[in-house]
Symmetry: C2
Subunit: 342 residues, 2 copies
């Protein structure tokens, strides 16, 4: 039995969507049990709508909820909030394997660092979503927002963390790692990226293919795109914006004339498959890499299916052995001799 925590109050549609997502997840995985943190009464009210295996669902009552607008460093001091209680439970209980939250990204990152703690040797945790690519697979973009300011050692560690995730989460052997820059040539980028290029080239345990450009995240040959959190975040949201525009234009055009409406009837399935392939949330949120246990940050606007996917993702990654895989990779690299100034 694998036990996962869910911050039932996190996200725009909580607790309705989180609770329904948990019920779906329990139905799909008989070897899963869940601990929900949040306002017990509200959670029970939502739960009463569904049939589920009550023996595998536990509620820990927390009166407080962290808001999207709360300042993360302040928010994590609220010890009665669903997120902070979840992090303490995760830290203290050996039988709890992971945490899923659709709440404030900033609070999840700060809480992860301050309460749960980082894997020994890791400087900073990183946010790592999986982006659909033109090969029909996923490219891991790491970091995409946890660290607006980075140093070369952090970027090198993001490479290592995301490579371990690619192996464990997607079964990719020797994942190809690219450094996101403003051109493919070695000299491209600012000093941070030029320096990082040098270290990544020398680093053991990863298959570094050099600089990549923004378009290579979705259309290139790499499995991992290493980015500072500032430009990684911009890349992610730029792609999301483009996807949103395309779907909007598509919707408008496909109902613009009688002819296109008729065409739509014939193409419904193809369009549905297409939407599926372009779904940024297919794998249920972004991993918070570098922490002592598996933490999945689900999208703030998560629907029940997204929460269920995030829970399944957390379970799969725990089963795959993400944290031991990272620790093993870390053994192979001596960062202090690789990178003089950290």
């Amino acid at each position: 039995m694998i036990k996962i925590l869910v911050d039932a109050m996190g996200g725009d549609n909580a607790p309705a969507a989180t609770v329904e997502g948990c019920v779906i997840a329990l139905g799909k995985d008989k070897d899963l049990s869940l601990v929900l943190t949040g306002r017990k009464q509200e959670i029970e009210k939502e739960l009463s709508k569904y049939k589920y295996d009550a023996a595998r669902l536990e509620i820990v009552d927390c009166p407080d909820v962290i808001d999207m607008n709360d300042i993360p460093t302040e928010a994590v001091k609220r010890r009665q909030s669903s997120l902070v209680v979840a992090y303490h439970l995760l830290k203290q209980n050996e039988d709890i394997c992971g945490l899923v939250t659709a709440g404030s990204t900033g609070a999840a990152i700060v809480g992860g660092q301050l309460i749960l703690g980082r894997i020994r040797g890791i400087k900073r945790p990183a946010l790592c979503p999986a982006i659909p690519n033109s090969r029909g697979g996923m490219t891991l973009l790491c970091d995409c927002g946890a660290n607006a300011e980075c140093k070369p050692v952090m970027l090198c560690q993001f490479a290592l963390l995301a490579a371990a995730y690619a192996e464990v989460g997607f079964g990719i052997k020797n994942p190809k790692v690219g450094l996101l820059s403003n051109g493919t040539e070695e000299h491209k980028g600012d000093p941070l990226h030029q320096e990082t290029y040098k270290y990544l080239s020398q680093m053991q345990g990863i298959d570094f293919i050099g600089n990549i450009e923004g378009r290579d995240i979705m259309c290139g040959g790499c499995d991992v795109a290493v980015a500072d959190g500032f430009s990684g975040n911009i890349a992610l949201k730029s792609m999301e914006g483009c996807g949103k525009l395309v779907l909007g234009v598509m919707k408008k055009e496909f109902s613009a004339t009688l002819s296109s409406k008729i065409g739509y009837l014939f193409m419904r399935k193809a369009i549905k498959r297409m939407r599926g392939q372009l779904d940024f949330d297919k794998y249920g949120g972004a991993l918070l890499l570098g922490l002592k246990k598996v933490v999945v940050k689900s999208h703030g606007s998560s629907k029940p299916q997204t929460i269920a996917a995030s829970v399944a993702n957390a379970a799969a990654i725990y089963r795959g052995g993400l944290v031991p895989a990272v620790e093993k990779k870390l053994e192979g690299v001596d960062f202090s001799s690789l990178i003089p100034e950290q």
Copy 2:
């Protein structure tokens, strides 16, 4: 009569595509004359395929061609190359209004700075493409690659340059200017962007709406997205990659089954309109802002229609009075008192 230079040898499909593009442009604008720089024999061979008004087309023979792989600072020393000759002609001849090149971006930027020169008071030129947005208009992204390293004063000037372009090129009164960051809150970003936010808030002559995220370039409310060249380039190419993936998936899905093939027949027009709306090259390339004259950098893979659009764009922007508009805006801002350290 308006006279525009075209670097006939620049781009993957030169000189065939550039020459055909010039012929199209001449046909569309009777008040336009062109000067083509490049290998005269090759250009004449291409020209012989078309009918055109020879009185409005001049060729300046240049034996040398700058390659995409040449190092820009070295390339611009090649005085017999089509790009360098074009820049010297542009600088020396008052009756020549602008330049279009689909050649090396780096060489175009360095040549623009070193040969043509910047507008008085402007620190660095910036590359500024127009990106289709969900309002059916265009968002100007400035800078998207000319400057991998930026200072706050440069970002503030990019705001001013692109705002002038939005007014002159797209007829937008008081264009809304956003600063591309990793979140909308004022405190978001690295120190460069936090500092820039402060100065942009105080700056005269622009309507600053605060930080924007990557998705706001295509789906937000701003007309100008100010970016450092590093993350601006990543944003642009990430959107391009997403667009490419979508069109690829669409193509595959729409011919996957008999039903979707039938649907396609009904939807051809809608799909064509859709592609048109998502066309990054609709306005024919990116402007190199901040130089003494109008310079348009057309995409390296420009087709004849793209070259023609770039030429038309250069002419329209000259007619609109871009450089005087920038100079007027510059008069209103005292950068040295606004930004203490530059």
